[in-house]
Each structure stands twice: as structure tokens, then as C-alpha cells.
């Protein structure tokens, strides 16, 4: 070979080419959905594998936003936004306060309850689903957002644990000097620590956002009216249309539903990668 490429270089090129091909294979399904959403309805399943539409159209998006049962897709987006925003808020508030209690206040029983909390992480939530449903049913919360939001305000074991770990990494001298200055626990947490906890809070918010935005099971159980549906539930219902599903519009709205997920990922990738690498979190 001219210039005499070293075998090492050749292997490196080979590896890069292989990885590139593999990357294309990995994202092919996503690109396929994106391109199908831009094809005309009758083209999607003819030569289905092609990624370039022969005619580009945004018709599917316009059609998709009409939603179903007289509810615009904007309604579903709004519902999902309300549920997600309040759930994230509740999680951040409760988990920060609880984590501070476990990490920095030495009280009798702390170790016991911390162990209890860690055990709940292993518990399959399915055991709780039926009684919780009965409970929410009896107090009239079915077909409201309450069952999807209110539990967030009572702390989530996993996120509490994550913040506890983070707080334990902060120097104790910080508390001590604050206490000398006359700060109580409230002062230490909200005035001294909160600014330092921002990275942990961002990580918690991101993952709570993903889990709530994608959640399908709770909306399926608790929301039966079309005007209450979240995006995940609405997509499922649109794809079940008994008069024949218009797949182009379903794909278009699928892309819309994934857009916030992409945006958050691109903007906050650093926190996501770190969060998963250090805690073994499932994304």
C-alpha cells in the first residue's frame, strides 16, 4: 500500500467502519419511524424499508394533532405535562427533605427505617397495584390525575438513596460551621446545602421526568376518559382504532411524544451518563 499503512491503523479503520455500521443498524428503527411519519399514507408499507420518502409531507402531523374522540393531541400533551411537572416537583421536594433527614440528623431508628426503605426498592410494585387501585377507587380518584401525582410527594426510595449518597459526600464541617452561626436543620438544608445539591437534583428530575412521561401502566389503570389521557395512553388508543389505524399519523404523534425525551437528553446528557454510570440506574 502506498505510504505503508501500519497494520494497527488498518485495524483501527476496520473497527471504526464496523462501529459505524453497527450504529446505523441500531438507530435504523428510529429513523424508519421518523421517515414513515413523513411519507404519504399509502407509501409507508410499500417498499417499507426505504428511509427517503418519495413525496415529503407533513400531512400526518397535521392529521395527528386532531387526536381522537374529538380531543386534540394538544390536550394529551397538556395532560402529560401537568402530570410530569407535578410529579417531578413532588419527587424533588420530598426526596431532598427525607434524604437530609437520613443523611444528616442522627436519630434513634434512622438505621432501621433506612433499611426498610432500601428493602422497598426490591419489592415488585405489582403486589401493591391492586390494593392501591381499590383505595384510589374508593376515595373517588379514578379519572383524576391524583393517583399519578400525589404518591410522588411521599418520596421515592431510589431517589432518596441517590441524594443521601450525594449528601454523605459533602464535608460535615459545612454543617458544623453553619450550626455555630446559629443555623438549624432547616437553615443548613435550604440555605447551605441546596445550592450544592443541584447536580443531584437535576439527575433525579431527569429520571423522574423520563419515567413519568413514558409511564403507561398508571394512566391505563386510572384514566379512562379520552380528555384525561396522557400521551402514552393516547398513542395506544390511536393505534387501536377499530376503523383502521392511520399509521402515518400514529408515527407522527409518536415522534412528537419522543421529542421532549430527545431534547432533555441532548441538553443534559452529562447528568444522564454520570447518573447511570455511578448508580447503575435503569434509564
Amino acid at each position: 500500500m502506498a505510504g505503508g499503512l501500519k497494520p494497527g491503523t488498518l485495524r483501527s479503520v476496520g473497527l471504526h467502519l464496523f462501529m459505524l455500521a453497527f450504529a446505523c443498524l441500531m438507530i435504523y428503527p428510529v429513523l424508519w419511524m421518523l421517515s414513515s411519519s413523513l411519507k404519504e399514507g399509502n407509501e409507508i408499507f410499500v417498499n417499507a424499508h426505504k428511509l427517503i420518502p418519495s413525496v415529503w409531507t407533513f400531512e400526518n402531523y397535521a392529521e395527528g394533532f386532531k387526536g381522537y374522540s374529538g380531543q386534540s393531541f394538544a390536550v394529551f400533551l397538556k395532560n402529560s405535562t401537568i402530570v410530569t411537572a407535578l410529579s417531578v416537583l413532588g419527587t424533588v421536594l420530598s426526596c431532598t427533605v427525607v434524604a437530609y433527614g437520613f443523611a444528616r440528623i442522627g436519630f434513634k431508628g434512622a438505621a432501621f427505617f433506612f433499611a426498610c426503605m432500601m428493602m422497598t426498592m426490591m419489592l415488585p410494585a405489582e403486589v401493591l397495584t391492586i390494593p392501591q387501585y381499590i383505595f384510589f377507587h374508593k376515595i373517588g380518584w379514578v379519572n383524576t390525575f391524583a393517583p399519578l401525582i400525589i404518591p410522588s410527594f411521599f418520596g421515592t426510595a431510589f431517589f432518596v438513596f441517590l441524594i443521601v449518597q450525594f449528601i454523605r459526600g459533602l464535608p460535615v464541617e459545612l454543617d458544623e460551621s453553619a450550626r455555630v452561626d446559629g443555623c438549624g436543620h432547616g437553615g443548613i438544608l435550604f440555605r447551605i446545602m441546596l445550592p450544592l445539591l443541584v447536580p443531584a437534583i437535576i439527575t433525579v428530575s431527569i429520571f423522574k421526568f423520563y419515567w413519568t412521561w413514558d409511564d403507561f401502566f398508571s394512566p391505563l389503570l386510572y384514566l379512562t376518559k379520552p380528555e384525561m389521557a396522557t400521551v402514552a395512553l393516547a398513542l395506544k388508543n390511536m393505534s387501536d382504532n377499530s376503523f383502521g389505524t392511520s399509521w402515518g399519523t400514529v408515527f407522527a404523534m409518536s415522534i412528537v411524544s419522543l421529542a421532549p425525551v430527545f431534547v432533555v437528553f441532548v441538553a443534559l446528557q452529562k447528568y444522564i451518563v454520570e447518573g447511570i454510570s455511578t448508580t447503575g440506574m435503569k434509564g
Binding site: 450504529a23 427533605v97 436519630f107 402514552a232
Partner: protein, 295 residues
């Protein structure tokens, strides 16, 4: 002073404590009670002793289909996913250009994989007129159109593929673990003339085993809960081949309103998961390497 501190402590953890009592402990007891009853939410529960369990174990064929589907899924998809994650992480851990881009691309499926949108897309991708058949026709001239989703021999595999496709989280965790392994170990092995496979077996794998172990447990526990994919992609079919355990619990409890039976099923799942976790932990000593204190 000490008492005041304790009071404050409980005040701070009170949101979780109340939630624990209200949304975990109380439902646990209720569910345990319901497991021994017949209950349809409208009339009051009827005590039937071990009736539900008896039906489940001796008279309900679908129950065993559900176990078969779940176990097949868990013990094929999770190890495969971890193997993939490890292989890709090791490739990424070489001197690779565009590492960030590759990492993001491989993580993307995991990011969106649990959503309804992807489940719907998967169903169409493998449908009769979907992209897979189209690719096979264009590249290999296969004219037969297979319905991968509704054919009993392939339905489960489409779901396993969907799970393996989402190896991103495990890959990130392995990547972080690989970075922790001191380069000096590999250098020493090079001097001793160790080959690639040998280095992998004797250095990489043992040092990564705690991470591997943690991921395997979490993966399997989460695998037992697979639901959305089973409902949307295959809807439990064909012939209950993909009727996952939780999907069956959902069907029994919320479509047929057999909530006593559903609770009994949920408790069996709980006990199975617990037993499984205990076994893995008990045997972990023999195959997990912790840096300090190997006996």
C-alpha cells in the same frame, strides 16, 4: 437536646414514613388478605382459603403459560443484553474516535425503548408489510411475507430483540467499570505474554464481576415485570406465547375483575423474586470477586 434531634429527624423523614405506611405497608397487608379471597371490587371479599393458589397451580393452564413466557424472556433476553453491553463497552473502551457520538447512538434505544411509541413502532417494523420483510425482499429476494409478531415461533423473539436492543444503560455502567481497571494489570499481562482471551478471562471479567452481578440481578428482577411490550407489541399472543406474568395479572385483575386471584398471583411473584434474589446473593461469593478480602 437529643430528644429534639430525634423529633426533627422523624419530621424530616415523615413524608417517606407516611407514604411507606399508606402506599406500601397497608397495601401489602390488604393484598395478602385479598389473595385468600374472591373479590370483584363491587361486592365484599369472600374468604376462600387457599382456593386461588389451588386453582393457579392445578387448574389454570394460562398461568403456566405466563410463567413459561416470562422465564423464557428473562433468561434469554437479560443475559444476551448484558453480553451485548459488555462487548460494545469493550469496543468503545479502545482508542476510538467519535466516542461520544457512538455512546449516544447506542444509548438512544434505551432512552426511548420503554415508551409506547417504540412498542407501536416495533409492531409495525416486524409486521407483514413492515420494514424487516421489505429489507429481506430487497436484499435477499425473499418473497414470503412472514408475520413475525403473530407467528408462534417468532413472536417471543421479536420481544427479546426489543429488549436486547436496549443495552445502553448496562453499556454505560460497564464502560465506567472498565475505566476503573488499572492499565498496569494489562501491561503486566502483556509482559507475561498473555493473549487477548486470557486477559479478558483473568483480568477484565473478575474485576468487572461485581458490576456484572449487580446488573444481572437488577435486570432479572426488572425482567419479571415486563408489561408494556407484551401488551402493545404482541398483546400476549399468539396462543399465550408472550403472555407475561404481569400482563396476566393485569388481565385477571382489571379486565375480569378477579382481584383476589390477581393478588394471589402478585404474591407468588413477590415470593419468587425474593427467593431468587436470596439464591443469587447466597451463591455470589463463589463467582463475584471483590477486591478486598477474597477467600
Amino acid at each position: 437536646m437529643r430528644k429534639y434531634e430525634t423529633l426533627q429527624g422523624y419530621l424530616y423523614i415523615s413524608p417517606w414514613l407516611i407514604g411507606f405506611a399508606l402506599f406500601t405497608m397497608a397495601p401489602m397487608f390488604v393484598s395478602l388478605y385479598l389473595a385468600f379471597t374472591r373479590y370483584d371490587i363491587l361486592s365484599s371479599p369472600q374468604w376462600i382459603g387457599f382456593g386461588n393458589f389451588k386453582t393457579m397451580f392445578t387448574a389454570d393452564e394460562r398461568y403456566w403459560s405466563a410463567w413459561k413466557a416470562t422465564l423464557t424472556f428473562v433468561f434469554v433476553a437479560i443475559p444476551l443484553r448484558l453480553a451485548f453491553a459488555l462487548a460494545v463497552a469493550m469496543l468503545l473502551n479502545t482508542k476510538l474516535k467519535l466516542l461520544g457520538l457512538f455512546r449516544a447512538t447506542f444509548y438512544l434505544p434505551t432512552l426511548i425503548g420503554g415508551s409506547v411509541a417504540v412498542a407501536i413502532m416495533w409492531r409495525q417494523l416486524f409486521g407483514t408489510n413492515g420494514a424487516l420483510n421489505s429489507v429481506l425482499a430487497a436484499m435477499f429476494g425473499v418473497t414470503e411475507k412472514v408475520s413475525w409478531i403473530t407467528q408462534p415461533s417468532t413472536a417471543m423473539w421479536t420481544l427479546i430483540l426489543l429488549a436486547v436492543w436496549q443495552f445502553g444503560s448496562a453499556m454505560l455502567i460497564f464502560l465506567a467499570g472498565l475505566k476503573q481497571i488499572p492499565a498496569s494489570l494489562y501491561e503486566a499481562a502483556d509482559i507475561d505474554g498473555a493473549g487477548r482471551w486470557h486477559k479478558f478471562r483473568k483480568i477484565t471479567l473478575p474485576l468487572l464481576s461485581p458490576v456484572l452481578f449487580f446488573n444481572l440481578i437488577m435486570g432479572i428482577i426488572n425482567g419479571f415485570k415486563v408489561f408494556t411490550e407484551g401488551l402493545i407489541v404482541t398483546n400476549g399472543g399468539p396462543f399465550d406465547k408472550t403472555l407475561f406474568y404481569v400482563l396476566y395479572v393485569y388481565e385477571k385483575s382489571f379486565r375480569y375483575y378477579e382481584m383476589g386471584y390477581g393478588s394471589a398471583m402478585a404474591w407468588v411473584l413477590l415470593l419468587t423474586t425474593a427467593a431468587f434474589t436470596l439464591i443469587v446473593f447466597a451463591t455470589s461469593r463463589s463467582w463475584v470477586f471483590y477486591e478486598s478480602g477474597r477467600r
